[in-house]
């Protein structure tokens, strides 16, 4: 099954590129000029996203380096003990919606420390792999088109992250427990 899926994801992009180009050419689209024209849009989008990403990364890095994250963790630990949530997983669960690279570093560290085939290692991998970074997605997607009022999107994203954490815990405990 995995072999199959990984074959698809290996071939998907080359096949897609070839298909788009050949189809465009068959419809007499000037492919080169059109590509260059579209690629220009990538530049303007990047420029529009940049300030948003800088703002968000500054806040997130400060929060982590100041020790505020650890402090938040220690505040939460009694509650987690009550719910039988392993304390080691909490930093990852908290970081996941905020920073993709930060949580990847924590997940990698956990896998290195506890072993990839331990309960915590599997849990870390599942948790890291099962959702995307909400704050990042929000910043980039809304930043790119200049949306200031995100309506309820952030709330939905954060609640579903919590759901993802709970699902990961339950499913990994059930499958590998």
């Amino acid at each position: 099954m995995y072999q199959w899926i990984s074959m698809i994801s290996l071939w998907a992009i080359p096949v897609m590129i070839a298909f788009i180009l050949v189809y465009g050419w068959s419809r007499s689209v000037p492919v080169y000029e059109t590509f260059v024209d579209g690629a220009k849009g990538g530049l303007t989008t990047t420029v529009r996203i940049l300030p948003h990403l800088v703002a968000m990364m500054v806040a997130v890095t400060m929060f982590r380096e100041s020790g505020a994250l650890e402090w938040l963790l220690s505040l939460m630990s009694p509650l987690l003990e009550l719910l039988h949530v392993p304390e080691e997983i909490v930093p990852l669960a908290l970081l996941r919606p905020i920073t993709g690279t930060g949580s990847l570093a924590v997940a990698t560290d956990m896998i290195a420390q506890y072993g990839p085939d331990s309960f915590l290692g599997r849990l870390a991998a599942t948790m890291q792999g099962s959702t995307d970074t909400t704050l990042y997605v929000l910043t980039v997607y809304f930043g790119a088109v200049g949306i200031r009022n995100s309506a309820y999107a952030l709330r939905v994203g954060l609640w579903s992250d919590l759901a993802g954490v709970i699902f990961s815990l339950v499913i990994v405990s059930y499958v590998f427990g």
């Binding site: 992009i13 990538g42 940049l50 890095t61 100041s66 792999g129 499913i171 499958v175």
Partner: protein
């Protein structure tokens, strides 16, 4: 809401940093963070330029429109406000399939093109529409068939079976996506009632 989160993150960091005697680290973190922001952004530039170029060809040749029309019965359930055959549909579909295949760096450009198209339908350019929120919900939860990065890391640390987390990851992300879409609908109704 983003205003409050941003403000809170920074003010709390400075206060806690001062109490911990880590004000030096906080100071450095501010500029380190800014640098990370720029680095991440420039990492995006190459993929954005490439895929936006490709997608322009798909758009000009009518491929995207055809795709959108073909699958509109499915997606229009998720995005009832988007007219049938609108280019946004094509981009949304490409974004969802790229996410599914774990092609993260192709998913973002398509998602952003979808946002641009949705923004054209938006009467208030500063405020997110329900369709935009749904697209966000799908992307933050992002169902992934193969978590390539995690498999690679597990391999690197000598796992006996690196891919055994594929099933658990798929189930967990499927569950999170269902929750995200349900909440999106609930908030949407509440929001519409309030603004009416």
């Amino acid at each position: 809401m983003l205003n409050y989160i941003w403000l809170a993150l920074i003010v709390i960091s400075i206060v806690v940093g001062a109490l911990n005697g880590r004000i030096e680290a906080v100071n450095q973190a501010a500029f380190e963070g800014a640098k990370t922001g720029v680095t991440v952004c420039f990492g995006l530039l190459s993929v954005l330029a490439f895929w936006m170029g490709m997608m322009r060809i798909a758009e000009k040749s009518g491929l995207l429109e055809g795709l959108a029309r073909l699958l509109s019965p499915i997606i229009s359930r998720l995005f009832p406000d988007v007219p049938k055959g609108h280019p946004a549909m094509g981009y949304i579909l490409s974004n969802m399939s790229a996410n599914l295949l774990g092609l993260g760096n192709a998913a973002t450009p398509m998602g952003l093109k979808a946002m641009e198209e949705l923004q054209k339908l938006n009467p208030d350019k500063q405020k997110a529409t329900p369709a935009m929120c749904t697209l966000l919900a799908i992307n933050t939860a992002s169902i992934t068939l193969i978590p390539t990065t995690m498999i690679a890391i597990r391999m690197q640390y000598g796992s006996a079976n690196p891919v055994e987390i594929v099933g658990t990851t798929l189930l967990a992300s499927f569950g999170a996506t269902v929750v995200a879409l349900t909440l999106d609908r609930l908030y949407r109704y509440r929001h519409e009632r309030k603004t009416r």
